[in-house]
């Protein structure tokens, strides 16, 4: 079912020409169920989005830009006046607050033979399939604090914030932007709740507990009443037997064959 759906999606994407009506999409929810998380967003790579602009003899590279939605009021341009791509980093834009920053660069995904998502079940192929199919923004937690890091830094995003993403196609020899997608729809990272707020009150009592408590209380009461009654009757009985000889003779009659009643 998932396989048919995905094949259909890829066919449709291939037929659409790579014009500006395409946007970066969030990765398929059946595949990446934990998306978006607190600090990461996983996007599909731009399969067949730039088919119209790609010439077979040239080499291209794709840049991914990310920005907070609030930054779109300030600036959402990813190119400068010469059509060269913006080289902003996470730190320069305060994590995407002042404008878009470059989060990643990778090769143009293979449109002719996209990864078969059904192969995700195969343990040997899953790493390749995941790597070819999607990209995780916010994956690298250490590059911000590593002074020797020279590549494009992809630090974790802020929780509970809306972000927008854009793919840009770049001609690597000329260094000029050839094509770009629209800004994606707003994608919000997860917010968290405090564990202090979890209510651990159990609610109403269970039926078991009520039955056990009530019945046992009644039984104990009856036992105590029975004990007092038997002590009372034993005391009364011993007083009667000392006061009335008639009862004595009766017990003496019974005492011969019934040794157990006339106890010591």
């Amino acid at each position: 079912m998932g396989r048919c759906w995905l094949v259909l999606v890829f066919c449709c994407l291939g037929q659409l020409c790579a014009d500006q009506s395409l946007k970066p999409q969030i990765a398929a929810p059946q595949l990446a169920t934990n998306n978006p998380t607190l600090t990461t967003v996983t996007l599909e790579k731009p399969f067949c989005m730039f088919d119209g602009s790609v010439h077979p003899n040239k080499s291209y590279v794709i840049y991914l830009y990310a920005m907070k939605e609030s930054a779109s009021a300030i600036s959402s341009l990813v190119t400068d006046n010469d059509n060269k791509p913006l080289n902003s980093t996470f730190q320069q834009t305060s994590g995407g607050q002042l404008g878009p920053y470059k989060a990643a660069l990778f090769n143009v995904p293979n449109c002719a033979s996209p990864p078969k998502l059904a192969e995700v079940g195969d343990v040997n192929k899953v790493s390749d399939v995941l790597k070819q199919y999607l990209f995780r923004v916010g994956d690298d937690g250490t590059c911000l604090y590593d002074p020797n890091f020279l590549a494009v830094c992809n630090p974790p995003l802020a929780p509970d914030t809306t972000y927008r993403f854009k793919y840009v196609l770049l001609d690597s020899t000329e260094g000029i932007v050839k094509d770009q997608t629209l800004w994606s729809d707003s994608i919000k990272t997860r917010g968290v709740k405090l564990p202090l707020k979890i209510d651990t009150w159990p609610g109403r009592r269970s039926g078991d507990m009520i039955v056990i408590t009530s019945i046992l209380s009644v039984l104990v009461f009856l036992l105590l009443v029975g004990f007092l009654a038997s002590v009372f009757s034993a005391v009364m009985g011993s007083k009667d037997s000392s006061a009335e000889p008639r009862c004595m003779s009766q017990t003496n009659q019974q005492s011969e064959p019934r040794p157990q009643l006339s106890s010591e």
Partner: protein
């Protein structure tokens, strides 16, 4: 008065039979409670950390009550056969005391079971699992217990969190303080493991790809044994007490009929 003599014999027989059953049930109760106290599923640290381990207290009481029931049933049999007033009076009084203790054990087990809700374990897991800086020795002991218990639980039952791995994503926790969300959206014990004990595919686990992480919650694995424990102590004790009630009433009646 032959009828009453037969009646007395029948009553004696019934009382002896009743005491035999009490003795056997006492031994069974002791054995059952020893089994529960031995904690075969390793869940005691979770209860200890909630500071609500009264179902274990109920089981401990059950051990001693069971043994007392066995001893008292022997005393009862001897007393009934000998028709000794003194013995039977001692038997009745001690049985009443044992009855009270067993009643306490049953009610405690049944009541405390109600407190063991998913939210309780969730809150405890988020606040204690892999807490790095405990406040004092007691806190440290509880934290280590909870961490070990959860690790064992997640690995053995192939489960994650209380209701599911989303618990780790929906709430902040002490685990989140030391483990970044990018590398550890949930603990690695939630990943499907290969026979060597390492995750089959870490990226698949982090992304939540079906088949590479355990998507079911551990609450069933926790509540199952705890329910068995609590209900085993409460309802079996209740059954014994109902039977003992009848035997005790019969014994009191028999005692009051014995002439000095």
């Amino acid at each position: 008065m032959a009828k009453s003599d037969d009646g007395i014999r029948i009553l004696q027989g019934l009382l002896v039979f009743g005491n035999v059953v009490i003795g056997m049930c006492g031994i069974a109760l002791t054995a059952e409670c020893i089994f529960f106290v031995s904690d075969p599923h390793g869940l005691y640290p979770l209860l200890e950390a909630t500071e609500n381990d009264d179902i274990y207290a109920a089981a401990w009481i059950g051990i001693f009550v069971g043994f007392a029931l066995f001893a008292l049933s022997i005393l009862g049999i001897v007393g009934v056969i000998k028709s000794s007033r003194t013995l039977l009076l001692v038997y009745i009084i001690l049985m009443l005391i044992t009855y009270a203790f067993e009643m306490a054990s049953c009610i405690t087990a049944a009541t405390q079971r109600d407190f063991l809700t998913p939210n309780l374990f969730l809150k405890q897991m988020l606040e204690r699992y892999q807490k790095l800086e405990p406040d004092n020795n007691n806190d440290k002991w509880m934290t280590e217990g909870v961490t070990k218990a959860w690790n064992k639980l997640m690995l053995q039952n192939q489960c994650c969190g209380v209701r599911g791995p989303s618990d780790w994503q929906e709430y902040t926790s002490v685990f989140r303080i030391t483990h970044s969300d990018a590398d550890f959206p949930w603990p690695h014990q939630c990943c499907v493991m290969d026979p060597q004990g390492s995750p089959v595919n870490l990226d698949g686990c982090k992304l939540g790809v079906p088949g590479y992480y355990n998507s079911n919650g551990c609450y069933d694995a926790i509540s199952g044994p705890m329910n068995t424990h609590a209900w085993g102590v409460a309802w079996f004790g209740f059954a014994i007490l109902c039977w003992t009630f009848c035997v005790l009433l019969g014994t009191m009646f028999y005692w009051s009929r014995i002439e000095y």
